[in-house]
Symmetry: C2
Subunit: 304 residues, 2 copies
């Protein structure tokens, strides 16, 4: 029996060739330079119709609202519980996210981690019907493995809350908590009456959402190295991908294009201001990124 080929769920072609060529070239670099940064939602697993982390907050809110219906007087929370995406859009995702963060204010990080893991163990995808880990992209898991085999350090760089992803990153992707950066909740250290220090989540965040330029500054501030491979799927990943290509080393910028309505979803993110918009795949072509067409480049989307 022949050993399994490199990246078996990737169809032969230009995209796979570019990835394989990058893997080969990286072996000539010092190990210190072998850093790869991956967006999570929509890049490593499915983000439609809702983010898994959104589902976690919604689930928490639903339980809390049973004993405390007054929670739903806040329009942000009512919109979430009703899955009213139009209302969420009008209120703004940032404002809604902050209201959700407040649900966990005053608890210890270990309690949050346990809640996130409990949720992950029981949630099923809204439309695909499989447990959430079943919506990871098999070709991306294969790529993570090949990178690790070549002594890469993998960073997860998410627009979602850092702590949710950290709670599940080792199980989902083999990535330890210190290699995860996302939107950061603020902590405070208080003292119990007996003097024992207790670290608590607050309802605030540090420095805004981890999107766009913030992905670059946070990778440097919190993780410390410029990636030579960056992978994303949306306008919020643009700066990170550009930065990975702008270094002295040979780099790879991977954009996952969701063009597979049959096996997953078909949608595209738009970059730019309201006045000057550009589909992210057009940005990719202009800047020399490697676009992964889910429909054409992947023989399998999800794990068996």
């Amino acid at each position: 029996m022949t050993p399994p080929a490199l990246l078996p769920s990737w169809h032969p072609g230009r995209t796979r060739d570019a990835v394989v060529a990058f893997l080969a070239a990286a072996e000539a670099l010092p190990v210190e330079a072998r850093v790869a940064a991956f967006d999570n939602d929509g890049t490593l697993w499915c983000e439609k119709p809702t983010y898994v982390q959104f589902d976690f907050f919604e689930d928490t809110l639903r339980r809390r609202a049973e004993s405390n219906p007054a929670l739903l007087e806040r329009p942000e929370l009512a919109a979430v519980l009703n899955l009213d995406m139009a209302a969420i859009g009008e209120l703004g995702m940032e404002r809604v996210a902050l209201a959700l963060v407040e649900l966990f204010a005053g608890i210890e990080p270990e309690v949050f981690t346990a809640a996130a893991r409990d949720f992950m163990a029981r949630v099923r995808h809204r439309t695909l019907g499989v447990p959430a880990p079943g919506t990871r992209y098999q070709p991306m898991l294969e790529l993570l493995d090949e990178l690790r085999r070549r002594d890469f350090t993998i960073y997860l760089v998410s627009g979602g809350g850092t702590e949710f992803l950290r709670a599940v990153s080792a199980d989902l992707y083999g990535v330890p908590p210190e290699c995860v950066v996302g939107t950061q909740v603020r902590y405070e250290l208080i003292r119990r009456p007996d003097g024992r220090p207790v670290l608590l989540r607050t309802g605030g965040v540090i420095g805004g959402a981890n999107e766009g330029e913030a992905k670059v500054t946070n990778i440097q501030s919190q993780l410390g190295r410029r990636p030579i491979l960056a992978a994303g799927n949306s306008a919020g990943d643009r700066e990170m991908l550009e930065w990975a290509l702008a270094g002295d080393r040979p780099g790879l910028a991977l954009l996952l294009h969701h063009d597979d309505r049959e096996r997953e979803f078909a949608y595209e993110s738009v970059s730019g201001t309201l006045k000057e918009q550009e589909p992210i795949t057009s940005v990719a072509d202009r800047l020399g990124w490697t676009v992964i067409s889910m429909a054409r480049d992947w023989s399998r989307v999800f794990p068996a």
Copy 2:
């Protein structure tokens, strides 16, 4: 020939027994819980008469001032170049540190890293006369090795600037950049006229000095796990040590007491407010920490 004993540079006795017992107990814990946090200056290597990072800034300043003497019109910088510790104390270390951070405003992180490594390759300790890596504490290097042998993740949690320590942490301690947290410089992403993004250091810091409570909140925010072992040597490490002991797991809080004027230096940090002060070794006794007496517990201080 018998294999080398565990921790060969630690004298037999209560301190070594406590460390050995902790190492044994940790093997029963899940790997995820095996996290150890070490302060750097004065805990892993010598911090007297001046911090190595201070020496780096002083060295940079001396070179810059040759071509730009106007720099020394700033009292903070003049005090550094004159090694005028009284003036530095009067101005306040934080204000002086900020003036030094500004020396590197506008440069790319890779340039800063290269400068830090260049300095480390040539600096000799002011009084001990050895290269800076020769002032690491041999017994602590042995402890780091034993922890790693037991699948611990090592965090470096320094009051100094993050990026200087990250530049040298792999060589000095085998710790990768993403496991280092210190005082953080702020970055900004700008665009060159050709559109290429460039990440630059600014002259500002994020969230103040990484001391005291900040060590705890930054460990959680940036690294993501509570340590079960914390080691420090000063009042700025107090909260981190208390937090390590306050978890559900068996923990170890190590305080290095500098009581060895002959082989290193003799000094002690004081905790508390100006009105209510308490030597850190007294805090340690009260809170059940393990105090390492450099004079009594270590058979060797520096690497051969």
